[in-house]
């Protein structure tokens, strides 16, 4: 469903160039939640943006549901739902108008949007604020609208880039429940975070990313057992990053 092979991104050129992501490869199957675990500036957002076709890879390749992100960006985007703390809502549109707009951009007919939105709004308990402007909604309600926006075209792939960053417990819980629901519906999910507890609870497999490189991969249990047998996921993460630093120096 999601495949990345030697994904590399270099910003700028010449002496001022910065290698943000280097040779990242992974694969996410349908019905699986793959966590990209890394500190701030590790290269998570750049990787996610390459998968979402917002950034063009400098080298390597990636595909979303069989669509190459560089050669068929529109087809790749049509197959994914992208949610991050940076994906804000149009404040002057109502919750329904926001969802309808994205449905239209995905080429859905208005009748299909109406019925799809009715189902999503019922499931996420959004009917109370269906016709309220997005700038008048609470943080939790906004998150629900964002979720509805990503769901309206029922994509097989979901990309979450630190979606709970800065959210309160209740709003973050909505997101976590939604990610679980995506897995149960057979979607391939990639979830980037730096919150260890969230990664451990949600993800089937994890990739530890640091300084643009994917240093380790495995289930949370395997990572713990391999890198910090006596510790938790955080200890394993620190051990992986430290061993990389030692090798690099």
């Amino acid at each position: 469903m999601i495949e990345a092979h030697g994904l590399t991104k270099i910003f700028g050129d010449g002496l001022k160039s910065v290698v943000a992501v280097e040779g990242v490869s992974f694969r996410v199957e349908a019905g699986e939640v793959y966590g990209l675990l890394g500190a701030n500036g590790a290269g998570k957002t750049t990787t996610m943006r390459m998968l979402a076709t917002m950034l063009r890879p400098t080298a390597g390749s990636a595909s979303i549901a069989g669509a190459d992100v560089a050669r068929e960006p529109e087809r790749a985007r049509a197959a994914l739902g992208f949610l991050s703390t940076a994906t804000a809502l149009y404040g002057r549109l109502t919750a329904f108008e926001m969802v309808r707009y994205f449905g239209r951009l995905h080429g859905l007919a208005d009748a299909a949007i109406e019925s799809g939105a009715a189902e999503i709004f019922r499931r996420l308990e959004m009917n109370e604020f269906r016709d309220r402007r997005c700038d008048k909604l609470s943080t939790g309600q906004k998150q629900k609208v964002s979720i509805a926006r990503t769901l309206i075209h029922d994509p097989p792939v979901m990309i979450f880039d630190e979606p709970t960053l800065g959210l309160d417990v209740m709003a973050a819980r909505t997101i976590v429940e939604f990610v679980r629901e995506c897995r149960s519906r057979g979607k391939a999910v990639i979830y980037s975070t730096h919150i260890m507890s969230e990664a451990e609870k949600l993800c089937d497999r994890l990739g530890v990313i640091h300084a643009g490189r994917l240093l380790a991969e495995g289930t949370p249990k395997t990572l713990r057992a391999t890198h910090a047998p006596a510790g938790d996921l955080e200890d394993a993460f620190v051990a992986i990053v430290e061993s990389h630093r030692l090798l690099a120096s």
């Binding site: 917002m54 992208f82 994906t87 149009y90 549109l93 707009y101």
Partner: protein, 401 residues
């Protein structure tokens, strides 16, 4: 729904729900601009009429041994003569005195001798309208006095009254009055419309680009399958719609105000051009709007490019604000005397349309020059549109932090 149409309808709804769009699209062109023009015109008229109705104080310097001229000056109703003082220049500078006239002490004798030219100096404050009126009144008095003196001399010699005036001239206007009015309107109207096209496009263009980046919705929209070109096209058409609507609103309101108070459109024209004679042919209006369309396209594309380049709405405003001057200067240059449409000027954006509008309204224009203007402006607009699409495909511009 076509993605361009989806973007267009969404952006239009979004913008029309914003108070700032309504203010810049409807309130400013339909209410503020006409009120300002009429208000300014009315205020100017009142101030000038007040200044004209007042009898100015003019100081008399010299004329110590010339009782005749002194008596004539004191009898003059258009001026109030005040006694001379050494600080006349300071008083004029401080605007406590309108003007002063310096008459030679032996002025009467000089005139009686008939063999010299008496020099009368008029002191005034250059650029100060009331001082100017006083100087005019003094000049008129001495001109009349000179004519009377000359007439006496001619009569004393038994010569015919027109002896010293062998030639006289008279100006006669052969241009139809409606074309004179059209020429003036043609100069001013496109200037206002061009300015409003720009200011009308400014807010929505910056809001849909820099504003979108600032609010964090750029990443949201870029994650949808809409092509960048389609996104730009949708946004472009919305900004163009609002820009043209602003211009149309301004024309409608100005027409309304013109009909409401014929001739009060601009005080500057009062007395020189009879706007009551204004007849604008429908084809002139169509031609001017045809020329203004690529200008509006150019403004829309340039402002979208500026907004896309900027990191924030504030940064975009700091780039777009000074651009108003770039728009006003060529539009104003077209109002200057002697600036006429040539092949070279037909290639200068904005100035070419302003000049052409003046010619179209005055009824004398060359179709080939109009074609060049239309084509060149379309080329500039296409370049600007290409630039915006290119910027929307540049990661470095879209994700500038």
């Amino acid at each position: 729904m076509n993605p361009i149409l989806a973007v267009y309808s969404k952006e239009l709804i979004d913008l029309l729900r914003d108070r700032r769009t309504i203010i810049s699209m409807i309130v400013i062109p339909m209410v503020v601009m006409p009120m300002m023009m009429l208000g300014f015109g009315g205020m100017s008229a009142r101030l000038v009429n007040n200044a004209l109705s007042q009898v100015p104080e003019v100081m008399l310097l010299g004329a110590a041994k010339s009782p005749k001229i002194r008596a004539a000056l004191e009898a003059e109703k258009r001026m109030k003569i005040v006694p001379g003082a050494a600080d006349y220049a300071t008083r004029i500078s401080d605007k406590r005195l309108r003007a002063a006239v310096e008459v030679p002490d032996d002025f009467d004798d000089q005139l009686a001798a008939e063999n010299s030219v008496a020099l009368v100096k008029i002191f005034h404050y250059e650029g100060e309208i009331r001082s100017g009126f006083a100087a005019d009144a003094a000049e008129r008095f001495f001109r009349d006095y000179r004519d009377r003196t000359l007439a006496n001399r001619i009569s004393a010699r038994g010569l015919p009254p027109d002896f010293a005036r062998p030639i006289t001239t008279r100006r006669e206007n052969v241009a139809p009055p409606e074309k004179v009015a059209g020429s003036v309107i043609g100069g001013i109207l496109p200037y206002i419309i061009i300015l409003l096209c720009f200011t009308g496009a400014m807010y929505p263009a910056l809001d849909l680009t820099a504003g979108e980046k600032e609010r964090g919705t750029m990443e949201t929209i870029l994650s949808s399958p809409v092509r960048r070109g389609q996104l730009v096209a949708g946004k472009f058409l919305v900004v163009l719609t609002i820009s043209l609507s602003t211009a149309l609103c301004s024309v409608l309101s100005m027409t309304f105000f013109y009909l409401l108070s014929k001739g009060a459109l601009g005080f500057a024209m009062k007395g020189r051009v009879d706007l009551g004679n204004l007849r604008i042919a429908p084809e002139s209006v169509v031609a001017v709007f045809a020329l203004l369309l690529p200008v509006a396209i150019l403004f829309t594309a340039v402002l979208l490019a500026v907004g896309t380049f900027a990191r924030s709405f504030k940064e975009a405003q700091s780039y777009a604000g000074p651009m108003v001057i770039l728009v006003i200067l060529p539009a104003v240059a077209a109002l200057l005397p002697g600036v006429d449409l040539t092949w070279k000027l037909a290639l200068v954006p904005i100035l070419n349309v302003s000049l052409a509008s003046k010619e179209i309204f005055s009824g004398q224009y060359s179709w080939s020059l109009l074609a060049i203007i239309f084509a060149s402006t379309c080329v500039y607009a296409a370049i600007a549109c290409g630039l915006v699409t290119r910027m929307f495909n540049r990661e470095a511009v879209l994700f500038r932090a």
